[in-house]
Symmetry: C2
Subunit: 244 residues, 2 copies
């Protein structure tokens, strides 16, 4: 048996997220079905973590065990012939038999895209959070600095989540833009449920003045979800890369 | 009556082109219906020209006459509340009573997008022509120079078109890229039916070596459609701007 790692990009719009679930089609099940079409094997495809309905991926990582003779570097091409156009495997390789996409992840980066313009774009309807406001990006960058380092991010976790520890380390948050389309990239050793979307929503509220950059440290320290900003919509979020 | 000009952006994927037709929903009819919803008027919305099914627009221009008291600069916002997310009016203004979107157009520019990469992008499935080849962009730029100026473009028109003159002037063709996604911008005083798509398809064939840059002048002179390249697919084409 070979352990094959896939790097996968998908447009999440038409899926109920990554993970197999009873009500609706998911990215994981569509790929597992394509593997079964190719080899007859009912494999278990292990992703680096879930993504919610409507969330996109540029580089989701997943692995599975197969007895197939398909060359490891050929899997991406073989799968793409069986997958819908909104899911593409961009790379495949054989990895160590012990490799586990979730347990061995040392970090992840996510993009959050905001289109700040008077008129939305017909091309970005499901691909960026459109806001009809002018945002103060300098204030947002200043606010983002407060997230860096190791913190208890309880205030930035969907309430009701059960998890062993709420401590996470953020390595970097960077901003870039192309005209009115902004990207915020969050890189850390892990993220709590909805954490990137709540950080993005909080930065957005700094951007239009409901919160101040200087408020962030106290919001983190207070561990009260209700003091942070909105959960920014799923369709602005992209899982960019998983680090091992 | 006021003569209102609209500048319109749309994702053409879900429409049978711009112009009202019996079989399928068009962009023109959706906007006319939105105007009727707002004012009760059954207006005739005159576009600068047709776009085919699947073709997109960044700046289609259209005008209509209305007795409504909606302020001219407010039309774009009023219409956007009634339009689907894949059609956005980005600008509106009152223009001279004689202004006609088609007759008065002095020129147009179109974009053609090509994604040249081993793997397609889930985000560009309907938004760029994906080719699994390495293209020689320098040769394509050299070839494009042959299109510049005034020529009889019969070889670059869909066969069977009936038209007064097949002479057109190309002012500029420019190339730009963001990684593997290339944009070719064609600006001219007008374009024959399918002309941009055939020029783009011909440049593509230069890019992978089936045609040579030096062939283009003879293909233009020969006025034989069968000697030019393929008609590149509609979903790579964008009407960028109309000049008056």
């Amino acid at each position: 048996m070979k352990n094959i790692q896939l790097i996968i990009s998908y447009r999440g719009t038409n899926y109920c997220g990554w993970q197999v679930q009873p009500n609706g089609v998911t990215v994981q099940e569509v790929i597992m079905r394509a593997i079964k079409d190719l080899t007859g094997e009912a494999v278990n495809l292990t992703g680096s973590g879930r993504t919610d309905a409507g969330v996109h991926a540029l580089g989701q990582s997943a692995n599975f065990f197969t007895a197939s003779t398909i060359p490891p570097e050929g899997w991406y091409r073989a799968l793409n012939t069986r997958l819908p156009a909104d899911i593409r495997v961009i790379h495949s390789r054989e990895c160590h038999p012990d490799f586990h996409s979730r347990y061995h992840a040392k970090g992840k980066s996510y993009l959050y895209k905001i289109l700040a313009s008077p008129v939305a774009s017909p091309f970005l309807a499901d691909l960026a959070f459109h806001v009809n406001r002018t945002l103060d990006w300098a204030a947002m960058e200043e606010a983002a600095a407060s997230f860096l380092g190791e913190h208890d991010f309880t205030a930035f976790m969907a309430s009701g989540s059960s998890i062993k520890t709420t401590i996470r380390t953020i390595f970097e948050i960077s901003f870039s833009n192309n005209d009115d389309l902004w990207e915020m990239t969050f890189t850390g050793n892990g993220f709590l449920y909805n954490m990137v979307r709540i950080m993005a929503g909080t930065l957005y509220e700094v951007g239009y003045g409901r919160l101040k950059a200087q408020d962030i440290a106290a919001i983190i320290a207070g561990k009260d979800r209700s003091k942070a900003g909105i959960t920014a919509p799923a369709h602005g979020l992209y899982l960019k890369e998983v680090y091992y």
